[in-house]
């Protein structure tokens, strides 16, 4: 931030270097469909966009405000249900679809306002337990109040029954992709700006030290309540976008599993940087959709990745990325290429070998009794031969062995690249 002022070019009252990441992001969003234009690809991208909004809204609590919520899918889910009821209302024909997420946001805000009014009195365990209780409560209500939540089938509607927006009826996936992208972009910008406002800054202060904040004139409770309410709004927006994309809302949208997933996504991406949850949302959506199509065990791999990140890189994926900054500053990032090839790459390949063994074991145990053929990494083979077992086993042992052997060298290179040479 402090170096930005050296850039003399100004755009919208800001130095260009400050705006550059946003401009690049906008261009990427604009041209992505050129490369990933199939129906399923556009759906995955749209889903990613929704998850990004939700994860960032969640991180307003977890990362920015120091509140651990176990029931935050409630606000997104309620926004989604509300929007579907609007889609089924007779006056939906008079409402342009792009405004629908605003309605979701409004209801997310209202519910967060009501629940936050008592749940944000305390942070820490008390807040977490209340959020868990609220999550369970609404998950139960879904199956009880069937008039509103539609029971197990949920509520569905049709997005193209809204008022055409400049002739666009949002029938194609491409139109929906752009609608969601624009909403996501605006929501991300607004959430970023919120973190720069007085109340957004004080959210950090209350997270770090609520008592000190109180002795600076701020009620910690009001600061938490403000963050909670604003977060509820953006969760509701994500819910509205989800209603548009999937045209259905069910119990799975607001149960405790969904709340757990967003916690996992946010933590995976890293709570320390504003953009961390974006990385988490992208990686999670890719794992859930692309990998989810390939294997039933994708959640197992997600769990392993998650535990690994939490144990070894508590700052998340964004923390891993940012840990390269010192090496970049010393100009020695290039010296890390070889250590990466000799240590990290074998480790990853070895991991794939282990995954192959896991997949094959799963296939033998759970596949049909006489079905021995399976496909892995685009190779067809029979699980009743010896060779297909030996190959991944050798790959796993050699890969992991190489990684372990070269780890000290990697660490040495890392330390060398990250520290400045002694003053010359």
């Amino acid at each position: 931030m402090s170096n930005a002022s050296t850039n003399s070019r100004i755009l919208f009252g800001q130095p260009v270097s400050v705006l550059l990441p946003w401009i690049i992001a906008a261009i990427i969003l604009l041209i992505l469909p050129v490369f990933l234009g199939s129906r399923s690809q556009l759906t995955i991208l749209s889903q990613m966009g929704i998850t990004i909004v939700f994860a960032l809204a969640y991180n307003m609590l977890l990362g920015q405000g120091g509140m651990l919520s176990f029931g935050h899918a409630v606000y997104m889910g309620l926004g989604s249900f509300m929007c579907l009821h609007v889609m089924n209302a007779t006056w939906f024909g008079a409402l342009p679809l792009p405004l629908l997420p605003l309605i979701g946001g409004f209801f997310g805000l209202i519910f967060a306002f009501i629940i936050g009014s008592f749940s944000t009195r305390k942070a820490g365990t008390v807040f977490a337990m209340i959020s868990l209780g609220i999550g369970e409560l609404f998950a139960a209500l879904v199956l009880i109040v069937t008039v509103f939540f539609g029971g197990e089938e949920g509520i569905s509607g049709y997005r193209d029954e809204g008022l055409p927006f400049f002739g666009i009826e949002f029938i194609s996936n491409l139109e929906v992709y752009y609608l969601i992208s624009i909403w996501m972009f605006v929501a991300v910008v607004l959430m970023y700006l919120f973190s720069r406002t007085p109340v957004g800054r004080m959210a950090n202060a209350v997270r770090d030290n609520p008592e000190r904040a109180e002795f600076l004139g701020y009620s910690a409770r009001w600061v938490r309540f403000a963050s909670f309410t604003v977060s509820g709004f953006f969760c509701g927006v994500a819910g509205g976008l989800s209603a548009i994309l999937f045209e259905i809302a069910t119990e799975t949208d607001l149960n405790v599993t969904a709340s757990g997933a967003i916690l996992l996504i946010t933590f995976l991406g890293g709570v320390g940087f504003f953009w961390g949850p974006i990385i988490g949302a992208i990686v999670f959506t890719l794992l859930a959709t692309v990998l989810g199509l390939q294997t039933h065990l994708w959640e197992l791999y997600l769990g392993v990745v998650f535990v690994g990140v939490v144990m070894f890189f508590p700052a998340g994926l964004s923390g891993i990325i940012m840990s390269h900054v010192p090496a970049l500053k010393t100009g020695k990032l290039g010296t890390l290429v070889m250590p990466y090839i000799t240590c990290v790459l074998p480790g990853v390949i070895g991991g794939l070998g282990i995954a192959a063994l896991v997949e094959m074991s799963f296939h033998v145990r759970s596949g049909a009794a006489d079905e021995h053929e399976m496909t892995l990494f685009w190779i067809d083979f029979s699980t009743h031969n010896v060779l297909p077992w030996v190959v991944p086993l050798v790959i796993a042992v050699v890969g992991v062995g190489l990684a372990v052997r070269n780890a000290p060298a990697f660490k040495a290179a890392w330390d060398n690249a990250s520290t400045l040479p002694e003053a010359a």
Binding site: R196, N204, A205, F215, Y218
Partner: protein, 251 residues
Amino acid sequence: MTSALELVNLRKSFGQTEIIRGVDLSIPKGERHAIIGPNGAGKSTLFNLITGRFPQTAGVVELNGQDLAGKAPYEINRLGLSRSFQITNIFPMMTVFENVRCSLLWSRGYKYSFWNLVARSNDLTEAADAILEQINLTARRELPAGVLSYAEQRALEIGITIAGGANVIMLDEPTAGMSHSETDYIVELIRKVTENKTLVMVEHDMGVVFGLADRISVLVYGEIIATGAPEEVRANPRVQEAYLGAAMEAH
């Protein structure tokens, strides 16, 4: 003229135990007042009663003539009283600059606003930088506060405490755990930043107390046994008996 702080028959009990047993104290505006006393005398409890951290059991605390009964810490702060803590109490994950800027926000009228961007206010940036200059932490501006040395963190806490422009500053053992040179530095800093303000401090270091304070109160077992100028207090036989004698011998 109303005094900056007025304590009338202030009492505090924890269960059956009475810790503060009827304190009467009047601190005029602009005075530097030190509260001393042996360990367990109730100095920190008295501090916490005045600043609203605990509610009192009985008695009155008035700040600039205003009764503080039932007010939360943030409300008391808004009335012009600011404090530091015995154990360093800063925002460790935020930068030094942001620590100071956050402590300016309320008094500058930003309150809970979400339509201003803090970075756009040159006023705020300049005021925060001026305070960093005062506490000699300009060079540490962009570091997370948690990585500063102990003395620097204490200085930062004093900066946070004075930033809001409160006219009554309360410091709880500002030099605790510091070396001689660090103590001298902090004493000078306190002298500088409390110019024209009312200062109330708890302190164990007699050098600091006699160097800084206009008046001293001696608290023993929850009661003030003497109040007066440093020489008077030093000469008071009850004080010598209860506390100072032993402390002076040790020094």
